[in-house]
C-alpha cells in the first residue's frame, strides 16, 4: 500500500510554514550585528566580538535612551562600544564591565534593571498579577459553586417540559 498523499490543505500549510521559516531567517541575518557602523570597531575574535555585542545590548545609550549602545549611532554610544571591546579584549568578566559602566553612569545605563530594593516591585509584578488573577478566579468560582440550587419545577413547568421533550418525567 502506498502512503496516502497529503491533502491540498496540508500541502498549503507546509508550504506556508517553510516560507515563514525562510523569511524569518532572512530577517534574522541583518538584525544580528546591526550594531556597529564601522567594521573596524569589531574585535577580530568572533567569540569576543559576540560577547561584546551581548554586553553592549544590555547598555542604554544615554543620548537616545531607548536604544542600546549596540543599536545607536550616537557619538557616546560609539565611545562606549569601544570601551566595552577594550575591556573584553583585556579579559574582564561581563560583571566587571557592567560594574565599570554602572559606577560611571548609574543603574540607568542597564537596560535590564538589577534586582534591588527600588526595583523589587517591578520584578515581583508578574507574580503579584498572577496571584491577583488566581485570587479573583478562586473567588468567583467559589461564589458560583456556593450558589443555592434553583427551586424545583412547578407542575406547570413539568408539564411544559414533558411536552417539549415528548417524554413524561413523572413516572
Amino acid at each position: 500500500m502506498s502512503a496516502p498523499s497529503p491533502t491540498p490543505i496540508r500541502r498549503l500549510f507546509s508550504r506556508l510554514a517553510s516560507g515563514l521559516l525562510a523569511a524569518s531567517l532572512l530577517l534574522a541575518v541583518p538584525l544580528y550585528g546591526l550594531a556597529v557602523d564601522d567594521p573596524s570597531e569589531m574585535l577580530p575574535d568572533p567569540h569576543a566580538e559576540a560577547r561584546a555585542e551581548a554586553i553592549g545590548a544590555q547598555l542604554r545609550c544615554l543620548v537616545c535612551q531607548n536604544e542600546s549602545i549596540e543599536d545607536s549611532s550616537a557619538g557616546l554610544a560609539r565611545d562606549l562600544r569601544r570601551v566595552v571591546r577594550e575591556h573584553v579584549a583585556q579579559g574582564e568578566s561581563n560583571q566587571q564591565i557592567m560594574q565599570w559602566m554602572v559606577s560611571r553612569y548609574g543603574n540607568f545605563i542597564r537596560l535590564k534593571p538589577a534586582l534591588s530594593l527600588g526595583t523589587i516591585m517591578l520584578w515581583s509584578m508578574p507574580v503579584l498579577a498572577l496571584l491577583l488573577g488566581c485570587g479573583a478566579a478562586f473567588f468567583f468560582y467559589r461564589r458560583h459553586a456556593a450558589a443555592p440550587p434553583p427551586p424545583p419545577l412547578s407542575d406547570d413547568e413539568k408539564n411544559r417540559l414533558a411536552q417539549l421533550t415528548g417524554k413524561d418525567d413523572r413516572t
Partner: protein
Amino acid sequence: MNTSGSTTRRRLLMALPLAGAGAVGVAFWKMLSGMQHGSFNPHDINAPVLDRPVPDFNLPGLPPAEGFGTAELKALTAPVLVNFFASWCIPCVAEMPTLMAFKDQLPIWGVAYKDKPDNAAAFLRHSGNPFARLGNDPQGRAGMDWGLSGVPETFLIGPGGVIRWHTATPLSEDIIRGTILPLAARLKTP
C-alpha cells in the same frame, strides 16, 4: 463558630492579592505623579558621581591655559565649578555669556570635550574665556570617568575634591544665583 472563623480567614486570604495590587498601584501613582513637579524624572541619569571624590583623570592644558587633574581638584580649599563644553555644541555657545558674567564670583575650570584644540581656542577668543584652567579631553575619556552623557555638563567641586552638585543642562542665571552660588557659599564656610 468554627466555620465562620475559617470563612473569615479565607476571605482575608483572598483579599491579600487585591490589597497587594492596590498597594503597588498607589506606589506607582505616587512615583509617577512626581514627574509633574520634577521630583521624579525617568530620563535622569542620576549622576552616581554625586558626593563622591572626583574620578582619576589628568588632562593636559589647552595652551596657554594650564590643564588639571585629580590632584589639583583634591587640593582645593574653596569650591570650583567644572564645566565640560565644546565649540561644536550650540547650548555651550549659548551658555558662555552666563559663565562670563559669573567667573569672578566663582572660579570656573573648563574641559574642552571631544574638540579640536584650534576650534576650542577660536571659540574662546570669540566668546571670551571664563576658565581659570582649561583641560583638553579630545577623546572624551575623562568625560566617561565623570559619567558625562553630553555637553554642556557642569559639576560643583567642594573642598577636598568632592563632587557636590551636577547638572546636564546649560547653566542659566537662575541656576547660578539660586542654586550654585548659595551652595558654594555653604561649602566655603564649613
